[in-house]
Symmetry: C2
Subunit: 424 residues, 2 copies
């Protein structure tokens, strides 16, 4: 279920060990059976051997951690959240069709495999990630609704890609929404992530043009002793009720079954991507007590206002001394609870974003919301419908863009992502 992730032991060679090899540092990841040697000995970055020994320290697990590209599912879905992320949508260039798309997905898959192994993208690599380890880099590919008509593959378009319904609270910028193709990049190092983004854009060549692109971030590994408790830019604990890979129904909720429909989406998932602006100037003026009433949880611990700990189920019937509901009727935690939504569930795996100051002078920051589900009509849509009607949080957020993408299962060795669709 979770991505195969190999953790190489931190190299503990001290200053006396000259010429620590990047290849050596990441070359011990072979326990998973993916031999780096397959890339070809000449293809790796040369070691910056000229660096003085006293300038060398060990690559920690932050840099050495490597996620496997090949697998049942694509990486970047159950991979632990990364410190830096990019999402980018492309539209096929005029004249490009199924053949060009197939060649592009083959190029992209080969690049993703190399970069996720810590290798250069190719002979013309930009060197931006040189000296760095894979840093848990993941590259994930998806197809948007408009892709299928442009490639003559309408019959292969999943019903799950039908446009999302309009929501009352939507303020969507079409130029920053949807797209033929979607790529999600995540890594625990900003230069590794940027390097991958440029390589993916370069691979697009004349076949596809960038439609929109966004940057995000999460906690750095090691910054907190509570890594499961992500916080967003409102200061809230976020992700408490996320399905966990250990849940019995996790696969069923998040991934299209191997026998699912259409065939090419076997073991795939659907991603809903929304730029959710947070109106932080308003939010921060509320004060902690009022914020807790909006959310229905304690800011400090994420525990429901009805008591317990972060993982305690809220007691939605509990009343206070005056007879009022302790978890207010419009509290976000009440409205978004899975058992209030017919069991709908999605795996939220967001990044925060902060793009400086907006034209109106307020801070342009919020949540780059990315959620994963086997079926958007049983994941994002019913939850958002409920939130759209009565969520107290609504007045402090604004959905500014939206995308829905079909993310096929993982590629096998020698294959590429989307091959069953494009050659099926």
């Amino acid at each position: 279920m979770a991505d195969t992730q190999s953790r190489t032991a931190a190299d503990t060679s001290g200053p006396g060990a000259p010429g620590i090899s990047r290849r050596r540092l990441i070359g011990t990841a072979g326990a998973t059976g993916v031999a780096l040697g397959a890339v070809g000995a000449g293809a790796g970055y040369a070691v910056a051997s000229a660096t003085a020994p006293e300038q060398q320290t060990a690559l920690t697990t932050l840099g050495a951690d490597r996620v496997m590209f090949h697998g049942k599912h694509q990486p970047g879905i159950t991979t632990p959240m990364q410190a830096r992320g990019h999402v980018v949508a492309f539209d096929l260039a005029p004249g490009a069709g199924r053949k060009e798309a197939a060649a592009l997905l083959r190029r992209w898959s080969a690049t993703a495999e190399r970069l996720m192994a810590g290798e250069p993208a190719g002979a013309d690599d930009t060197d931006v990630a040189r000296d760095a380890g894979p840093s848990s880099l993941t590259v994930t590919f998806g197809f948007g609704h408009s892709f299928f008509a442009r490639t003559g593959l309408e019959k292969q378009r999943p019903g799950a890609l039908d446009p999302l319904p309009d929501f009352f609270s939507d303020h969507l910028d079409k130029a920053r929404s949807n797209g033929d193709l979607w790529v999600q990049i995540g890594a625990n190092d900003s230069l590794v992530a940027f390097h991958a983004l440029r390589a993916i854009q370069k691979d697009a060549g004349g076949a596809a043009k960038v439609r929109w692109q966004m940057n995000g971030f999460n906690r750095s590994p090691g910054a907190t002793a509570h890594p499961m408790t992500a916080r967003n830019l409102m200061g809230q604990v976020d992700g408490t009720n996320n399905p966990k890979p250990s849940d019995a129904d996790f696969d069923k909720r998040i991934f299209v079954p191997a026998s699912g429909s259409p065939d090419w989406m076997a073991n795939g998932s659907y991603a809903v991507v929304r730029r959710i602006r947070m109106l932080l100037d308003d939010w921060e003026q509320l004060g902690a007590k009022a914020q807790e009433a909006v959310i229905g949880r304690r800011k400090s611990t994420g525990a429901p206002l009805s008591g317990g700990s972060e993982t305690t189920e809220p007691d939605l019937e509990k009343t206070g001394p005056g007879g009022d509901l302790v978890v207010p009727i419009n509290a976000h935690a009440r409205i978004s609870r899975p058992d209030q939504n017919g069991g709908a569930a999605m795996l939220r795996r967001p990044f925060s974003f902060h793009d400086g100051i907006a034209a109106d002078g307020t801070v342009d920051a919020g949540l780059l919301f990315i959620c994963w589900q086997a079926d958007p009509l049983r994941g994002f849509v019913p939850v958002q419908r409920k939130l759209d009607r009565g969520d107290a949080l609504s007045e402090f957020i604004r959905h500014e863009s939206s995308g829905l993408f079909a993310v096929p299962g993982g590629a096998q060795k020698g294959g590429y992502v989307g091959q069953e669709l494009l050659e099926g």
Copy 2:
């Protein structure tokens, strides 16, 4: 010289140790004599004690590392480069003068001290950094040329703040240049840095308004085994010739002497801040060989084209078989070399930036150049004058904004940054 930086041992308590306390995790930093207890026991973040033990892991040094606020110099100058940075300029509000500025710098200093110790900003803290360690947070304050007339302090304005000369290659956006006040924030965790930025903005209250704000990043600690060898988004090794705190003349070049002029700048430094856009689409099309001729160094190792290692002095007279100079006459490494600039030296401590796609469809990325020197007329100015005339790199970069700020020495306990200026 270097900031006093305390490194707490990584807490190795395993899953069996319930309720790991953030206070405990950072509370061992007392070796430097700065007692966290001074903040008051009630002021610290409450521990998210409700978190299940299996969700707790140790804060690594990334989170636990703490930089001291008080000292001879302000933090954020010789502090190792951090993974995330914000720079923000403020203009005093209409009607605000010396008194309001003094109160603001007092608030800011108190907030910086608390945040750099891993404490909340105050009772109305946003909680965005809750659960996280200080993560090497630094907050650094400076004054721009325009500050002095607005506060009736013209006589205290250093000559070193006289406007920088115009450079041929400047394409400066005045709205994103200069400002009365400047704050630099850096941390190894993005949420810790964002939290500090919001707290600093909130403190400004009615006394000052944001003029411009920019975000940047560097490598995450541990992503590379060559931490001294920073790379920029062109893929170049950057910072090779930076003065080092161990150099005999480091203090003289970077800091105003204790007996310097004006008095209030004793132990201070001057920061030049430039948003240098990289024309990456053009640059990446050049190919590695041509890029190396532009820079005069090997991309892989940073070694001069005349041979040796990254730290070898370039042999500027060396010629190739055809009689041509091996390090081209207009190579960046030749023109920017200190001994070609009358010994001018500055400490470059930049962040990279990446703000997505610009209006013209190209990538909006480059270097958030920040350099430090005792005197800009002997640091940035002579180097930039030479680069402005003949640097082969010029056609691949564009200076889009510029600021020059006087950054006073560090505050002592009980005092605040700029006190000698504002109460002198």
